[in-house]
């Protein structure tokens, strides 16, 4: 184990951002010290990165299937997908049959697939591995999320409380930052502050008193900063989102899955020009230890259809040139299947990068099925190379500062001018 128990305890506590414990008297100081050190990545203010987390460990081998390699069929006879059922990308690999919509985008040349993504000394714990992906490494010095550190580089003097937006009920740890918290939105309808329906005239003064309760008294309690910052962000961003919602009409019918709804919400915010630099949405359920064939089919269909609708909606609104989407999952799954028609925790897996600015195609190196360790694949592309690619070549940010290591070579996916 590379991470000691003590460090893991520390890192699991680190899901609670350190600033959350500061009393609010320190809060302004924290905020201003960060404001004074922008690294100038305000480049491309009209570009958005949308991150789709496939939580639970997506089975990469059944997502992009190496059907010409017999060893694939030998290792997992009960979950392998027959070559004839796949959506062939070339004479070696094919997409899972449930992803016909993504295959259409592949044919249009706007889908990139990076193969063999992972990291050294794979952790097989969901939580440790997620933590590594979310913070950007195993280092103790990497506090907060990698996207949170990107937010920290932005000048926030002009924003409306939206630099990013996460769909759901929980702030994804990769977005955590000591700045004004990134809004987390479940639905437009729920994202507003209610007042006493009998006395609408009192709504404003009551809301003012509420905000005063948060900002007026410096408190020594832990979480004071968090509460103070959050109430302000919630109030401002909810008003902006309600306005944007009045103008938005989706150009396509989104699937009625929660991922579909989530991407629709992000589309609404992007089309409404709320200043979202990074959007985040999660789909769970990829931990397919048993009955994988049916469950994985549903999951990949959900991903494929929702991404397709989102892409078409952006296109119809003339925003597709401004948005790049990337997926990730904390690990792939064991090459050898288990006896319950499922797969246990594994290692490297492919991920998707999608958008009009994307040079479609396969990237990275396919892990060798003849070179396994404990029935797992060896990774070929470090996940931070993918992060560096979207940070440098899409968001125009310095990956060195954000990832805390020497500048990594980027993949030529977004390098076209």
């Amino acid at each position: 184990m590379l991470i000691s128990r003590r460090n893991f305890l520390k890192s699991s506590v680190a899901l609670v951002p350190a600033y959350a414990f500061l009393p609010s008297v320190f809060r302004r100081a924290v905020a201003s010290s960060i404001l004074e050190s922008p690294t100038g990545s305000a480049a491309f203010p009209d570009r958005t990165l949308v991150v789709v987390q496939m939580a639970g460990g997506n089975d990469g081998l059944n997502t992009l299937v190496p059907y010409s390699d017999n060893r694939y069929y030998d290792h997992r006879p009960n979950v392998a997908i027959p070559g004839g059922d796949l959506l062939h990308l070339n004479s070696e690999v094919g997409l899972h049959p449930a992803m016909s919509k993504l295959k259409e985008l592949w044919d249009e040349g706007v889908l990139a697939i990076v193969e063999g993504v992972g990291y050294q000394n794979q952790s097989y714990s969901h939580f440790e591995s997620m933590h590594i992906w979310q913070t950007g490494g195993r280092s103790d010095t990497l506090n907060n999320g990698w996207l949170g550190r990107y937010f920290d580089t932005l000048d926030r003097s002009q924003d409306q409380g939206f630099r990013g937006m996460a769909v759901g009920r929980i702030l994804p740890p990769e977005c955590s930052t000591p700045h004004a918290p990134i809004p987390v939105v479940e639905s437009v309808a729920l994202y507003q502050l209610h007042s006493d329906p009998r006395y609408p005239d009192a709504a404003q003064i009551r809301a003012d008193s509420l905000l005063k309760l948060y900002s007026a008294s410096p408190r020594e309690t832990p979480y004071a900063v968090l509460l103070d910052n959050t109430v302000e962000a919630a109030y401002k961003s909810s008003q902006a989102l309600q306005e944007a919602d009045k103008a938005y009409r989706s150009a396509v019918e989104y699937p009625s899955t929660s991922l579909g709804k989530g991407l629709r919400l992000l589309s609404e915010a992007i089309i409404g020009d709320l200043g979202i630099r990074v959007g985040h949405v999660t789909i769970g359920g990829f931990d397919t230890h048993a009955n994988q064939p049916k469950d994985h089919d549903n999951l990949l269909r959900t991903v494929s259809e929702a991404l397709y609708a989102f892409y078409q909606d952006l296109k119809a609104h003339g925003k597709d040139r401004n948005v790049v989407i990337m997926t990730w999952s904390e690990f792939g799954r064991r090459v050898k299947s288990n006896d319950s028609d499922g797969t246990d925790h594994g290692s490297a897996a492919p991920l998707f990068i999608l958008g009009t600015p994307v040079a479609g195609g396969l990237y990275g190196e396919r892990p060798d099925l003849g070179y396994l360790y404990n029935d797992n694949l060896n990774f070929t592309t470090d996940f931070r190379t993918v992060y560096a690619t979207v940070l440098e070549d899409w968001l125009g940010a310095s990956s060195e500062a954000i990832l805390g290591q020497k500048r990594l070579d980027t993949l030529p996916i977004l390098s076209a001018p």
């Binding site: 309760l213 007026a216 408190r219 006896d339």
Partner: protein, 433 residues
């Protein structure tokens, strides 16, 4: 203030009448009352729940049932422990599915609320919801499924670190054949691997129960369980000496959770300023606690959906690790839901869900704005509010003088009194446990 803290942490807060009763009993007797809950009659709660005709195989009804228990039980620590175990030894309805499973698991937590931890671990490894949730029921000797074995060590007992990937694979073999038939645990001998396993440095023909016994003897387990209890009930940073004394108690009493909880609730740390308001209320604590403290009568119908929106879907946490808690409870979305819940309570004028602060004012004979402000700060915030907060509330509510005399309240009195309660419930300190 100490009593308010105790009843909030070891339960779900108290209404006025309860608070008076416990203050009269004193702290020591109250702790014993909470811990020795088996001597407390809770039949009124069971009667109330039976009267609602709920279908506990359905998620919505089960959530209502659970929140109503938190609100109306006379055994608050027992229900608090059930919530603790549910967040630690997690299973979720979304995979386990409709049926008696999640209810049975919840009842197991209730029976074993303060029992011995090895007994609970052995019971949970046979629990039908868990057998489905972590795939034990399909763990066969030919190609074992590691899901339960890994989480048993990582999430239920030792935490990551003390074991290797080989330990995961070996212990998965020990649990092969633990199946489910007719919704109950069944040992399928033909699917069990009777071979020799090497686990945490020991070798033998281990069964699943042997694996639990070996795990219990590993020092990381006592440490893990005591730390989880301390951080749930006290604060996030136990010092080494405190933790060591809890670990000693745990091992000395052969894994008695009751003994550890008695130590925690009578410790200096529990009542220290480091612990006071040092935790964010979970949505269940926020919702159930508010209704309980205000003494509102409800069949629980609006409450489960509101708890969901605040980020805690009871009986269906997002993943195997339960709820991360702490700062993760608070973001722009969940905070808006908390504020809107406060608004819903403060403006509850309906017949089936009603809160009448004017009745409260008249019962107490308030004659000044200050008396009303004091009352709700005392009831909801242990009487502890910074002077700035108190002033903001007084400024907003001014003009309530003489309110209890007026038979029919004016619109102003109605608005101000309800908004006062809203503001207290929306204040930052009320979000804290």
């Amino acid at each position: 203030m100490r009593m308010g803290h105790l009843l909030r942490r070891a339960g779900f807060g108290a209404n006025e009448e309860e608070m008076d009763r416990f203050l009269a009993m004193g702290e020591e007797a109250t702790v014993e009352y909470l811990i020795e809950y088996e001597t407390v009659d809770d039949s009124a709660l069971e009667k109330r729940l039976t009267g609602l005709d709920l279908d506990l195989e359905k998620l919505r009804d089960l959530q209502r049932w659970s929140l109503l228990r938190m609100i109306y039980t006379q055994r608050p620590l027992q229900e608090k422990m059930v919530l603790f175990w549910h967040g630690l030894l997690t299973s979720a309805f979304k995979k386990v599915g409709k049926g008696p499973y999640m209810l049975n698991q919840d009842q197991l937590f209730r029976r074993q609320a303060l029992g011995e931890y090895d007994v609970l671990l052995k019971a949970i490894s046979r629990d039908s919801a868990m057998l489905i949730w972590l795939d034990s029921r399909v763990n066969n000797k030919k190609a074992p499924n590691e899901n339960f074995a890994r989480e048993l060590m990582e999430l239920f007992s030792m935490g990551i670190g003390p074991y290797t990937e080989t330990d995961v694979r070996e212990s998965a073999r020990a649990f092969t054949g633990w199946g489910l038939k007719k919704k109950e645990f069944l040992f399928r001998a033909n699917q069990h691997d009777y071979g020799t396993k090497t686990f945490l440095g020991r070798t033998g023909e281990y069964s699943g129960d042997d694996i639990v016994d070996i795990i219990m003897e590993h020092p990381a387990t006592a440490n893990f369980v005591c730390r989880r209890l301390f951080t749930f009930f006290v604060h996030d940073g136990p010092d080494a000496a405190t933790l060591a004394s809890l670990v000693w108690t745990f091992n000395d009493t052969r894994y008695s959770v009751k003994a550890v909880m008695r130590r925690i609730l009578t410790s200096l740390e529990f009542y220290s300023s480091k612990a006071y308001r040092a935790k964010i209320k979970s949505p269940a604590e926020f919702v159930a606690g508010t209704v309980r403290m205000l003494g509102i009568e409800t069949d629980g119908r609006p409450l489960n959906a509101l708890t969901d929106r605040m980020g805690q879907i009871l009986f269906s946490p997002f993943d195997v690790s339960g709820w991360p808690g702490g700062a993760a409870w608070i973001n722009s979305s969940t905070l808006l839901q908390r504020l809107n819940f406060a608004n819903k309570i403060a403006t509850a004028r309906g017949r089936s869900f009603k809160f009448d602060p004017l009745q409260v004012a008249q019962d107490h004979g308030f004659n000044t704005t200050a008396a009303a402000v004091n009352h709700f700060i005392s009831l909801l915030l242990d009487g502890q509010a910074p002077s700035q907060d108190r002033q903001i509330l007084l400024d907003y509510a001014q003009g309530l003088d003489g309110l209890s005399a007026s038979g029919n309240p004016s619109a102003t009195v109605d608005e101000k009194l309800r908004s006062l309660v809203y503001l207290v419930m929306s204040s930052p300190d009320f979000q804290l446990a």
